[in-house]
Symmetry: C2
Subunit: 470 residues, 2 copies
Amino acid sequence: MIDAAFLDRLRSIVGPAGHIDAPGDMEPYVAEWRGRYRGTTPLVLRPATTRELSEVVKACWEAGVPIVPQGGNTSLVGGSIPSQDGSEVLVSLSRLNRVREIDPLNYTVTVEAGCVLQAIQEAAAEVDRLFPLSLGAEGTCQIGGNISSNAGGTMTLRYGNMRDLVLGLEVVMPDGQVWDGMRRLRKNNTGYDLKHLFIGAEGTLGIVTAAVLKLFPRPKQVETGFLAVRDPDAAIELLASLRSASGDSLSAFELMPRIAIDFALKHVAGTVDPLEESHPWYVLLEFATGSGGEAFRDTIEATLGEAMEAGLVMDAVLASSESQAKQLWFIREAIVEAQKYAGGSIKHDISIPVSCVGTFIREATEAVERTIPGARPVPFGHVGDGNIHFNVTQPEGADTESYLAQWDKLNTVVHDIVLGMDGSISAEHGIGTFKRDELKRVKSPVELELMRKVKAALDPKGLMNPGKVL
Amino acid sequence: MIDAAFLDRLRSIVGPAGHIDAPGDMEPYVAEWRGRYRGTTPLVLRPATTRELSEVVKACWEAGVPIVPQGGNTSLVGGSIPSQDGSEVLVSLSRLNRVREIDPLNYTVTVEAGCVLQAIQEAAAEVDRLFPLSLGAEGTCQIGGNISSNAGGTMTLRYGNMRDLVLGLEVVMPDGQVWDGMRRLRKNNTGYDLKHLFIGAEGTLGIVTAAVLKLFPRPKQVETGFLAVRDPDAAIELLASLRSASGDSLSAFELMPRIAIDFALKHVAGTVDPLEESHPWYVLLEFATGSGGEAFRDTIEATLGEAMEAGLVMDAVLASSESQAKQLWFIREAIVEAQKYAGGSIKHDISIPVSCVGTFIREATEAVERTIPGARPVPFGHVGDGNIHFNVTQPEGADTESYLAQWDKLNTVVHDIVLGMDGSISAEHGIGTFKRDELKRVKSPVELELMRKVKAALDPKGLMNPGKVL
């Protein structure tokens, strides 16, 4: 239990508008939207400035009180939920939500951690720039959380992960000191690149309070296509040739199996099958380019034509309007929702080398069939990055609860295939509490030791988001 | 002095082909090519495998003997030269020079640290891929050194620095353990991203022995242009609009003042003034794209036409052949050489936000005139990244030695302007021994403390490249 006088001290640092302690009001902070994780805390702090947060953290450091930092609370791995014993205070960054500066000539925007991702996208668009991070939760998630979890999403093929979009950071260290690394520079070789320590560290090394982010030109021409492909191997071959033919302007390349389309058509209103005939595998792709106009479109059509002749592509449609493009993307997004209605789903968020995608899907599908006969793999996702959401829907008519009880067993089977390809058991979503035990199983002792050394060096008292990652 | 029996033990680990100890033969390892740095060592080790290197490092760890790792020995900051007291052994990575694997579908190449940069570029080209790191020393420098110094060069505007091109690393830790982080993945959120600790750490945290590098499509169409611009502000405005118009396919954007062209024309045979009239400022630019053909060129020409009407651009030529393009690049490269013949040059390798380039050049030029009247600034370089090699040539007829004696004084003046813009005093070249004292002056205490914590955590005995960076 945290001492009541100490909690009062924290309250006095942030003032009346800066804390919440009524159980009902704390609910959105201690529970996760899917209902999978729930913790408890005596106090939610909502500091208004980096200075206030710094004072809070310093007080906690001195008192030995652990802190759970939280952004939009959209973590899929329990990364932003406090423990159940009430021993941790929760710090929400949501009031640190100013866009501090936008510099179109430098192609940068300077934001505070609590800015909602979509607000940053909009601020960039207002000055004719693109902030390319894009993911399902963009209307809710906050950039501090995106940074702390190194968010991915649909545009990483062209623009990289969150890590690649950060130029500078401001971080409150575990002892309350503020590291001002808010540089707006493309090149800076003056010692260790400290920002990369905090990006993707899930708040276990310090609390990100602000960042300088890269912007890009807004694409002048976007082409969206939906293709039926022979199989995943054909998709990967096509990916390589389209990257080359398009001047590397491919911004999305999403693989989908027929079963995913069937789920979407059945369960989500408004989805339409884009091609006349049914095929086993599909790719949704997008090019974002400056110009090139008809010539660019001709090049893409020619490359697709060659792929059809070579038997890689069975059928294809290029969107002729923005609304048609939106409809094609709607199918991709509907897949996520549709799976909920198709029964229990055991999920994997894995990555492998792009060249191993076909082999992985074959081997993992066979392994699923051996482990849980009748279970239905729905491997879809960002295969342009080698990232597959290898979700497995329960056998038709099976009991959902007893199916889901096999979660860990199936994870082990699938992850072992991933590890055989030097892949990752968490491509996008991070570790949090959810994959903490699995991390210990899959990482080498040398790597775990290195991670522990870094943690001990920066957070020797272990007060930052305890029980997450390590 | 290192114990003779211990040196014998190291010799026995690497065998006869793996060490050099005759003073004459050690010369290329202990001296720097420009003659500015010279150290001494009792033994140069050239291990043939990661395992041999691991054994060497383990033995040194146990005996408390410091190690200087070395690649192509092209450092500009003394980063690869041992100390003068003979207390350090030197480890050359040059025999670890295999291309282990190339995977065109995954767009990756797996290389050992001693691979010469140009050999990697060629290996990529053989499978119709591009490895985009490109810099003056590419025929000599080794990829391990490029990684350890986070090399930049001329293509970073489009492809990023070395850091952005690394997917996986293999590192021998200070205690001799090998960290195998050789992942070939685009996405991997499983804990701290350890590779970024070693990239740019100049060998002070461990020795990079191998890496997985990103490849890109080979550009199908390259357009090279040479423009006279009104001033640096106009160059930066043009940069922003060309990034937008070209679908962000601008791969180089180099600023040059007239004095640099004059130096090149005077001192380097074969240089030709590309434009009829003389202008105060020039830009060399390059687009690398997939296709678009004439339509792409039309777009660029239209954008340049608008810039001429707006008074930003005074004159322009787009290369009509590959040989003309080479000639334009030859001028840019001649600038570096020409400065040597124009007298003593006090150099700065700085970066600032791209939007501050004009202000920086104005303020720094005025400060130079105040500090050393008659000294001639030659600000050129990769302004697309905000990186300016702000070199200052001695006043005409001045005594070179007494001019160069003012090196530190002028550095301080220029760096103070850089710091006022939150810039970097070493954009590309790193810290080494050369800028170690200046680093302490310019970094915040919090940042220095963080760097020291990382160093102490990973290399508690301080045996890795001592006296460099920190």
